[in-house]
Symmetry: C2
Subunit: 320 residues, 2 copies
């Protein structure tokens, strides 16, 4: 288990550290990248030798963060993981550092404590929100560049202040970052107003497959493996599709079937409060949370739908 | 022209007023409704006789605001317009009050000053943001219900803190409203996570019509009047479609053609910075802003597209 540190101790360790390597999680999102970038710029401003590494390439849309990536030019002596909840999330080749992480800065309550020491705030909407408090305590001046990095983490992890993890603190930090020069028009445009052609193509196919059942209380979209392969859609974009059926007015249970390369169907069930998604999936060998659950079904698409609809009918009857 | 009031004067007039009627603009949005509702609850809390009126019905999704609508049971003696930039926006039957508005509270810099007196802050992201400052000065206690009303105005006018009108002040007010009990999970769900079946159907049709030109630098979607009629889509949902083509990665000019009941094509052009949308439309008899403009074209869909594409080509060549 990690030693749990307070802000003051973290600051003193960072100030003493030399040759610092910052680790992101694989399939990097705006929070792990933005947090690592912000810490990189702060430490560089303190005269440190520092660099960032990640198992996957940093998407080009984040170029504005001007991150210095690790090129092997120094031997890491202090290793900091940022927004990484567990070692399985490092991916190759970053997992080589997994058993020698000196400090982990994170906001995932599930963090198992793989690092020697940890700065954890499970209430923070994003690691970037926690880092803002750290920088404030360090009396670091937040440049517009650092503000852009932190805003990116804050905005992406909250769906632009829309998700349930958003708090008053999140908005307060956003206000400070805008005062510090975060370019929210540019950033929101990059982060939220842009969709790939393949994402739109899979949305089109999904909408074509849309079916309503039980007087519109249940909506199903279904995608074959050929359709998924043909669009070349990214995993994150494909995942995004699963929130679509539940968004429709009047829909209480939204279901997405995605055929896997093996032929089986990966099923995502999203429900409104009052209908238990985990129970629907449990009867089909899966599980999850009350409003979001999943299972895997073998056989044909029609059989998979029939099995799901019979469980949905049961759940809707129980409720009303 | 209106007399321009400061917060203190507005407060003293509201405290003196009796039998107050609050006016919303037609096609009411979250800001005019949320602001009127918040002011309604504050004035009611002060023991006033007060009610709200609007030319169009308040959509049912706003029921949580518990607005007291005007039923003719008192003779209005003090009339306040909220978030209404000009008298043409009252609609019938509210326009009967247009020439006797005592006070207008608004954030539109374009407000012409039709009311006797005005509280105007053109920097405020929403009328709700301005009202928060008013209530703060009045030392009103913000109940969770009032916080929900103000949050609705703030969040809808900023696209959930995404649009360019969002400022540090906007986020500070959001933080205070959450502290006061605004139920942001419920509200964001109602305001942003819900789409009508007809909206999804018109999105499907729009995506099917999607064409790319000039190596993906231009995307066009086109809707016939039969398609628009068949879906029964609301004007606001149809308007929302026009931002779709420009959102696609690599697209510099996004164009939407909507056939009007008369048969002509209403064209919306959205461009990235560096490509002049107003100029593209000006050559076709239209106009607008640099990044968002429009025009109307007669004839067949194919002719309309050909005319547009030749203007787009010219604009793209000029730029690169
Ligand atoms: Mn995170
Ligand atoms: Mn407004």
């Amino acid at each position: 288990m990690s030693e749990i540190l307070d802000l003051v101790t973290v600051i003193s360790r960072l100030l003493k550290a030399e040759n610092i390597l910052l680790l992101c999680h694989k399939n990097p999102d705006g929070d792990t990248i933005g947090s690592a970038a912000a810490l990189y710029h702060v430490l560089k401003g303190l005269g440190k030798t520092v660099a960032v590494t990640c198992s996957d390439e940093i998407p080009a849309r984040y170029d504005y963060m001007e991150i210095g990536m690790y090129d092997g030019s120094f031997e890491p002596r202090y290793i900091v993981a940022v927004d990484v909840a567990g070692i399985q999330l490092f991916g190759d080749p970053v997992s080589q550092y997994a058993d020698r992480v000196d400090l982990c800065i994170d906001h995932h309550p599930s963090n198992g404590g793989y690092a020697d020491a940890m700065l954890l705030d499970g209430e923070a909407a994003a690691t970037a929100e926690l880092l803002y408090s750290l920088f404030e305590s360090m009396d670091v001046s937040i440049t517009p560049l650092i503000a852009n990095c932190l805003y990116t983490g804050l905005a992406t992890d909250t769906g632009c202040f829309k998700f349930a993890n958003t708090t008053a603190k999140t908005h307060l930090v956003a206000a400070r970052l805008i005062e510090a020069g975060a370019d929210l028009v540019k950033l929101n445009n990059i982060l939220f107003e842009s969709k790939s052609r393949s994402r739109l193509e899979i949305e089109r196919i999904a909408l074509e497959s849309l079916e309503y059942h039980f007087d519109g209380a249940c909506a199903i979209i279904s995608l074959t493996k050929e359709q998924i392969e043909r669009t070349g859609v990214e995993p994150l974009d494909l995942e995004g599709i699963t929130s679509l059926p539940r968004m429709i007015e009047g829909v209480r249970v939204g279901i997405t079937l995605r055929q896997q390369p093996t032929g089986s169907y990966k099923v995502s069930v999203r429900t409104e409060v009052g209908v238990d998604a985990a129970q629907i999936c449990a009867h089909l060998g899966g599980g999850g949370h009350k409003q979001a659950a999943g299972c895997e079904i073998l056989g044909s698409m029609e059989n998979a739908k029939a099995a799901l609809l019979s469980e949905v009918e049961r759940a809707l009857c129980k409720e009303s």
